[in-house]
């Protein structure tokens, strides 16, 4: 069982390396993290927070978009690609269960994501620590950002696998993945904000809005990191809600989402004919 998962993870890592996905993921994270930490460096003293905590707040806003994108890019081909190339039937005659195949791919992709996150966040943190002696105070926030980013990535890997198994064509899966990203990460928030504005502090704003935020994995990730840090209250419009939602609720969402997404992916994959 473990052997099957490890063998799959190993071969997936080889493929990802050869297809330059590792390089692309690392470059994306490093470049954006550095650009952001440079851009966000001006108002440090004004907020009274250490430099690293400020950088973490900016990185949180970045990761909400970038981590799901990188995860979906790595995962959309996972099953559709096997179906399209015709490699799936042979694989399924081997003594390895479908969920083990999925777990192996997940392991490889999560490891790549961790490498990319470590490189990106590490570079930004290094710059902060080198320029501000107080920055060590923000290490706790950085650690929290890192592990929640991994969970956010796992969530979107799971969603990507489900999309991949559903569409059974790599091109269709790619389109669907872009749609999912736009919908969950961009349009969802815009819709919520529009509704809040229109509602003018009524039932939606007080009752439904917090639930809607918790229901979305990207929003829950942002809420958890911002409510934990408190430093970044000015970072985003949605962040205003961070104060009114208890932290255990956003934490629950951050932890439950990856599990749910991966169970969904396994269920959809089970229905794919060889």
């Amino acid at each position: 069982m473990i052997a099957g998962i490890l063998a799959t993870a190993r071969i997936e890592a080889n493929i990802a390396r050869r297809n330059r996905w590792v390089l692309i993921a690392v470059l994306l994270m490093v470049v954006f993290s550095l650009v952001l930490s440079a851009a966000g460096s001006a108002p440090t003293g004004a907020l009274g927070a250490d430099r690293l905590s400020v950088v973490v707040a900016s990185l949180t806003s970045l990761s909400v978009y970038l981590v799901p994108l990188v995860a979906l890019l790595m995962s959309f081909d996972a099953i559709a690609g096997e179906v399209e190339r015709g490699t799936l039937p042979l694989l399924l005659t081997y003594p390895v269960a479908r969920w083990e195949v999925l777990a192996g791919k997940l392991l490889a992709h999560v490891l790549i994501l961790i490498v990319a996150l470590a490189a990106g966040y590490g570079a930004a943190a290094l710059v902060a620590i080198l320029t501000d002696p107080q920055a060590m105070a923000g290490l706790g926030a950085l650690w929290r950002l890192t592990w929640t980013s991994v969970l956010l990535g796992a969530t979107f890997l799971g969603i990507g696998y489900a999309v991949s198994a559903l569409s059974r064509r790599a091109s269709g899966a790619a389109g669907l993945a872009v749609g999912v990203w736009l919908g969950l990460v961009v349009l969802y928030d815009l819709g919520l904000l529009a509704a809040v504005v229109a509602d003018e502090g009524g039932f939606f704003t007080t009752q439904l809005f917090p639930v809607a935020l918790l229901a979305n994995p990207a929003d829950a990730f942002r809420l958890f990191n911002l409510s934990a840090a408190e430093a970044g209250a000015a970072a985003s419009g949605v962040a205003g809600a961070a104060g009114m939602i208890p932290q255990w609720q956003s934490l629950t969402s951050v932890v439950v989402w990856p599990i749910a997404a991966l169970i969904l992916a396994a269920q959809v994959f089970r229905k794919v004919d060889a």
């Binding site: 071969i11 080889n14 493929i15 297809n19 015709g86 005659t93 081997y94 004919d273």
Partner: protein, 298 residues
């Protein structure tokens, strides 16, 4: 000895297409069985059902004592799909090592395995750069991993050059001698008759014939052709002796049933003063195959 593979009354339809109708067969350990049949006869479908990739509509199948697709069956069965494909970015060595790990076999043997199918030099090249025959050999290599008790090979020699085909059948002989049961499909009649123990012919989803070539030959009861070359100027006299024969340039062609063959030969040898040469042509493989494989209305 109990069979490695037993299929009874297997039926499978795809919508209106009767891919397989009431097919029964069994393959014993150490037996090499060839599955023949026209395009669309149902060969690949039957193989996929044995492997648990497709569910049958009805029928009982036992593979190595288990149901198709069971974990136990998958441990013991190797498969070569008809259009085998691999990830183009991987090297032959990486791909085969992966399959070895899935079967709990030490991947350090991957290089030797590739050498067995003649890919020693190409082992570290990407499969995307391989020729069709080289890809087919990677497919063969993966089917040899571990000690499969049953090999299900869908057109294993397609794309292989003549020498590789011979090497391939030698590999099979070794596996069969080891007790592995082998079921392979093919359109290459000559190699199959020489290198397998038994033939199965599917036609339109039905099993229309089964047995060794010898058995099929006598079951088909196709006529034997005899070609007689006449001594100079004796053609007409010979035609008189065999009025049903067809006259050719320098002799005559006649046909007779298997049972009449010896009697006919005796008559010809009585006329030996007029006969320069004699050729006996048994029904060809193609003749026997098409006799059984003929579909309704064809």
């Amino acid at each position: 000895m109990t069979s490695t593979l037993t299929i009874s009354h297997l039926t499978k339809r795809f919508g209106g297409v009767h891919a397989l109708s009431d097919v029964s067969l069994s393959v014993a350990p150490g037996e090499r069985v060839a599955l023949l049949g026209h395009n669309g006869a149902g060969k690949s479908t039957m193989m996929k059902i044995m492997l648990g990739l497709i569910a049958p509509d009805s029928g009982d199948i036992t593979v190595c004592g288990a149901a198709p697709g069971d974990a136990e069956a998958r441990m013991k069965v190797a498969y070569l799909p008809e259009n085998v494909a691999f990830h183009p970015a991987l090297t032959g060595l990486e791909q085969v090592s992966f399959y070895m790990r899935l079967r709990n076999v030490d991947p350090r043997g991957a290089h030797d395995l590739l050498a067995r199918v003649g890919l020693a030099d190409a082992a570290t090249r990407r499969i995307g750069t391989f020729s069709k025959g080289m890809r087919q050999r990677v497919g063969l290599a993966q089917a040899l991993i571990g000690h499969p008790r049953l090999l299900v090979l869908d057109e294993p020699t397609s794309g292989l050059d003549p020498v590789s085909r011979r090497d391939f059948y030698e590999l099979l002989d070794g596996l069969a001698a080891d007790g592995a049961a082998i079921l392979l499909s093919s359109h290459a009649l000559t190699e199959v008759e020489a290198r397998t123990d038994r033939l199965l012919i599917l036609s339109g989803g039905r099993m229309v014939a089964e047995g060794s070539l010898h058995e099929l030959r006598s079951k088909a009861a196709l006529p034997v052709s005899l070609h007689i070359s006449a001594m100079n100027g004796h053609v007409s006299e010979l035609m008189g002796a065999f009025p049903n024969a067809i006259r050719t340039d320098a002799g005559l062609n006649l046909t007779c049933t298997q049972d009449d063959k010896l009697a006919t030969l005796a008559r010809i040898s009585d006329l030996r003063g007029m006969v320069a040469d004699l050729e006996v042509i048994p029904p060809s493989l193609e003749d026997i195959y098409s006799h059984f494989s003929r579909r309704d209305g064809q």
